[in-house]
Amino acid sequence: MPTNAVVTDIKQVTIRFSGDSGDGMQLSGTLFSTLSAIFGNEIATFPDFPAEIRAPQGSLHGVSGFQVRIGAKDVYNSGDKTDVLVAMNPAALKVNAPYLKKGSIVLFDTDSFQKKDMDKALFKTQDPFEELNLQDIQPIGVAITSMTKSSLEDSGLENKEMLRCKNMFALGIVCWLFNRPLEIADKLLEQKFAKRPKIVVANIKALTDGYNYGNNIHLTASTYRIEPIEATKGFYTDVNGNTATAYGLIAAAEKAGLQLFLGSYPITPATDILQELAKRKDFGVKALQMEDEIAGITSSIGAAFAGSLAATSTSGPGLALKSEALGLAVMTELPLVVIDVQRSGPSTGMPTKSEQTDLNQALYGRNGESPLVVMAAASPIDCFESAYAASKIALEHMTPVILLTDGYIANGSSAWKIPDMKEYPDINPHFVQTHFNGDAGEWKPFMRDEDTLVRYWGVPGTPSYMHRIGGLEKDLLTGVISSNPENHQRMVNIRKQKIDNIANFIPEQEVLGDPDADTLIVGWGGTHGHLLETMLRLRDNGKKVAYAHFRYISPLPANSHELLKRYKKIIVAEQNNGQFANYLNGQFADLNNICKYNKVEGQPFKVSDMVEAFTQMMEGK
């Protein structure tokens, strides 16, 4: 630690690593967030990928960013604007300029701020800061490229490999700036490149030299300290939403004593779920990459028929392809978990950007009256909880469950206290052998538990329960094909009632904030962190306000109506044109006080925007 430098204590800071998609910014960002979490800070991350895998070097559309917000506590989202920007080239500076806070530090690589680099980023002058009107910032130019090269002169690496360590040099400077001990970073690098010792050594050298450089020349007037928090005791790891989703399924399968089966087809941003589960053969997971989304879901339906905890993962366009098969799962009343990692649409839209625009598709995107369970996860960690809860509902209520996550929480990560599975509720699949009271001879495949209306799961391989199911309407009692009009009406009612009943098995909706507030903010899914912070800031501003975040959408928690009726004003905020707001209105016709806040930009909400907009709404505008 430099003793003569001024160390400023701060509560939270948002840092964005940004550069060419080949510059390794995702790695710098992940390492920094992980080491901060290990150090004892709260973290929230936002990887922002370009649509192209390798856009032309230095071009504006090739800029790849990784934003991380760290703090002692109360880090609910990845932050609106940045305090520190690492810009590896002029394009990165240009793309991120609108997100710079006043007074923020911009660390840039002077070696790649030459004329040709300015040209590629379509600057007209040689002074990008001036051209972008960036007066209120502290630019810090460092010759990152050339210093990395000289740092690694004797490493025995080729030129190209040396240059690849630029990101570590930059990370080293950032670590100095924030007083991060390098030992944690060294360990992470050793794990990351375990099979390539030479690369480990080079990366650690570049990192250390970057740190020392910052230290020696005192790059800024002060460095920053964010005190580690006193977190709950236990073991922690950091996890992103997609991994957490995969883990939630594994945990549920273990609890239910079933094999986990995933039929899937790669699609951004859901692919990681397939990839994570494909690795988990140690848990006996069967993760099949099928020929398309339809085969993904139908193979899973087959596995559900055969007695597995079956799941399928996809994103918007894939869910569209799955809709016919989803109807089959509804009709045959088989347990199935469908994960939709929402991305920007319609059609193929903006694959690497995030939205909440698939709610209507999840609720209504099927032929016929086709009710099923719809849930939404709130944060990377909540993906675990939600996937577990979705599996439990599917298996115990014999129904498909659509779990909505989104690109923002799927790729974003936070520190996660490793769960003790003993504390999680049991999962009891509704097997006919264990749940049906009568004789096998009396059993029919569409007999139901009287209270819950759940039918029994008879799995091929079980003697005495042979039966046929299918997508055709069937007789209420015998399960034989029937197109009798009254019977169809009754089956339509029963299928709906069965889903509605699930409201009795899910937690009541909670409200945060002021108990005597007139205004309720309502949200669902991956916007939770932003809405929570917005609510807290409104309260800091002296407003009385409450906040309800919905994880269960269909059915809604049993107390939803009574709860919503308590407020004079309801602000429903979502990244779509009002799908949840309209749904609430459809469910509860007497709610005539809903204000909508909608932004569909493919970017996370901005807390500052919402504080302003909600304040206006609350003041009756």
């Binding site: 290990i38 069967k286 997508g471």
Partner: protein
Amino acid sequence: MEATEIKYQKYLAKDYKSENAVRWCPGCGDYAILTCLHKALAELNVDPHNTAVISGIGCSSRLPYYMNTYGFHSIHGRAAAIATGVKVANPALSVWVATGDGDSLAIGGNHFIHAVRRNVDINILLFNNKIYGLTKGQYSPTSSRGFVSKSSPYGTVEDPFHPAELCFGARGTFFARAIDVDMKTQVDVMVEAARHKGTSVVEVLQNCVIFNDGIHNKISDRNWKADNTITLRHGEKMLFGKENDKGLVLEGWNLKAVTIGEEGYTLEDVLVHDATSKDNTLQMKLALMDTTNELPVALGVIRSVEAPTYEKDYEQQIEEVQQKNPKRSFTDFLLSSSNVWEVK
């Protein structure tokens, strides 16, 4: 000896019959296929409760309802993918797919070829009536060019698929063909299909009495059948004809039907069928024979080649991975993963 005898008699064809009334049109070829499946299962002696019959949509796809086994009548075209899930989830099951030419080769073409390519151990019974039955008479992907139907009133302007060619193109390991009226061959090939480890495709030329009556007459009619078909048996000479005096020989790269004793051809010249040859060139030629080229249509098991099956290899990978990694709980797994830190 006695024990095996008893086991052999454990099930009769009727044990596989469900109580549901069969609802195909009177005279439909599907009845015969159903009966043959009952018989084949009895011969195979598989437990009805260990049998799953999966179908798509179409007349043929109603078959699972008529089986006293586990059954799944699903959605159009997707039976092969569902069956893949069933078999991979529980490899101990005997899994059958009942499907039509429209179901498997039009809407379900993708799933069909990929199931075959993966070599999942399922048995696909492909009912080929060269028409869409359930939707009342539109041409199918196997209808010949120029075929007139309700949706092609002026004749089609597209060429048909040959199921065998698709199957071979997807590197299929088993292909057999039978005609609905020929019950013996049907039962035989079904039994062979079930014994084969991997995806078995059994094409049954089936007559739709209502919308495409007589489309297979040239080969199914008893007057012409002997001369217009050949039933292939592995290791036997490729002989056919009423008098069994005709045989297949190679002439250059092509097959030729000859009469023994004519043009100098002797029994020696007649080819011996090898269903197990990995190289499928000759099997492909046999499968594509047709009367318009003055060749008999091949019936029986045309190809049956050993190859690893998908679900077995999948299980083996799991076993290998599990051997290397001691069994542990999910929590223990997380604790041992990288990036774990402790807050004390």
